[in-house]
Amino acid sequence: MSVAMRRNLPLVITFIAGMLVIGDYYFKVPDYNKLIADWLKFVNVAATFAVVIGMGTLTRIHVRRLSQHKQGWHNSLALLIALYGLLITGLVLGEGRFTEHPTYAYWFNNLYVPLDSTIFSMLAFYIASAAYRAFRARSAEATVLLISAVVVMIGRAPIGPALWSDLGPITSWIMAVPNTAGIRGITIGVALGVLSMGVRVLLGRERGYLGPGA
């Protein structure tokens, strides 16, 4: 296949795929809509293979680290054992039940869930530290931001309305009026931005999603 063909074929596919589904949204023609329903099912199945990229890249990096005995190689070993151990548990030992198998569920609930929850819960400590060290009312706007944050924090927790019953309605007003107004303006702006970015991608002006060298 020529270089021009290799370069342009993905762009043509992107355009056709995009226009097909946009057309389906606006035109109610039974045969066409059925075709797009089938297309979506097929894309759903095809896209599921993308997980192999993550697995392959991770395996490649950590096997290299392990074989070269680089610093932290034992962490790479632990990662590979965890990855392939759970994979084998789900695919081979799972008796066709995959994630529903009790052994898989045991490791998922007692290892994966606590680790994921804990890593994200660390943010609470960082936000408390940042509140002390970084959140400064350096300008009038920053002061308004902090006052709004304080009112919402105290109003949404039980202690606020327990101390002053009007805090609940005030917090509701802040969320219903200025918050809605500000975020709605941003939402409308983002919609226009996404639309223009989408047009650029469909027309082939934006090629970042194709990877290096596109």
């Binding site: 589904v21 998922f108 530290s129 039980p158």
Partner: protein, 279 residues
């Protein structure tokens, strides 16, 4: 070192320890602060109250273990409320690591999942649907072709309640328990806008301000974070639902107070330094 200097140079580990204590103490010894109602939670409750026995409802698990502490209580409460209203529940999810929580919720609230005598008749768990918005669109057009088997490997044709469920139009209510992408905006684009389906959501608190813009025309009710879930549990007390979120809400109150104290202290130090230099 001056007081101001000490104030500015507090070891972050002291802050972490203080936060740990402020959260742990109310969990061990609850204070018992009353839980006040938010209009958002009341709107969520009211929508579910309008569900009639036999109405088919879809609950989508669009969160993972990272936000499980906030959203799993809302999941359980929603399942309990649906069961009390006699709704038929179709559970599924677009987050691969959130789907097992649907199975867990069925076991904790209904007593069993696939082994329940009413599984397939009153509730099903269709498992994970991949690819976010593309999957949502595919599901909305043809439920049976997108989810050919349930979470437990049973063909969808063998589940009696799924016989008449062909597309998004056949549902009465969509509940998305969401914490990111894919989540609320994707559901609104592919289901709410396409089928005019009543949609409510239980969100992680981070997403709540951004989703308020859709209330009430596109989203009819919102549970905002753990506080919303605690309020919902209070409303469900009339159905005999035993809430467990009173001590965590005490911890939430104290942690918020602590953050506010930190903000005030930090700004006092900043102001003293700024105006002290000005002199």
């Amino acid at each position: 070192m001056s007081f101001l200097g000490k104030l500015e140079r507090v070891d972050p580990r002291a802050i972490y320890l203080l936060l740990f204590l402020v959260i742990s103490i109310p969990l061990i010894r609850p204070i018992g602060l009353p839980i006040s109602m938010s209009p958002m939670t009341i709107s969520y409750y009211d929508v579910v109250e309008k569900i009639k026995p036999g109405d088919v409802v879809v609950i989508s698990m669009d969160y993972g273990p990272a936000s499980m502490p906030e959203q799993y209580p809302a999941t359980k409460a929603t399942v309990a409320h649906m069961a009390a209203k006699g709704a038929k529940i179709v559970g599924l999810g677009f987050w691969a690591d959130g789907v097992p929580f649907m199975d867990r919720a069925f076991k904790e609230i209904l007593g069993a999942s696939k082994d329940h005598p009413k599984y397939g008749i009153d509730f099903v768990n269709l498992g994970w649907v991949p690819n976010g918005e593309v999957g949502m669109a595919a599901l909305g057009k043809d439920v049976q072709a997108t989810c050919t088997k349930d979470y437990y490997g049973t063909p969808i044709g063998a589940l009696p309640m799924m016989k008449d469920i062909k597309s998004g139009k056949d549902f009465k209510l969509l509940i998305t328990i969401a914490s990111g992408t894919p989540g609320v905006p994707e559901w609104l684009r592919q289901w709410q806008a396409q089928f005019g389906l009543t949609t409510i959501t239980a969100l992680t608190a981070v997403s709540a301000p951004g989703v308020r813009v859709y209330f009430p025309a596109q989203i009819a009710g919102i549970i905002e974070g753990l506080a919303g879930a605690a309020e919902y549990e209070v409303l469900l007390a009339r159905y005999g639902y035993k809430g467990t979120l009173a001590p965590p809400m005490d911890a939430q109150s104290l942690s918020h107070l602590l953050v506010i104290i930190f903000i005030v202290l930090g700004n006092v130090g900043f102001a003293l330094k700024k105006y002290g230099k000005g002199k």
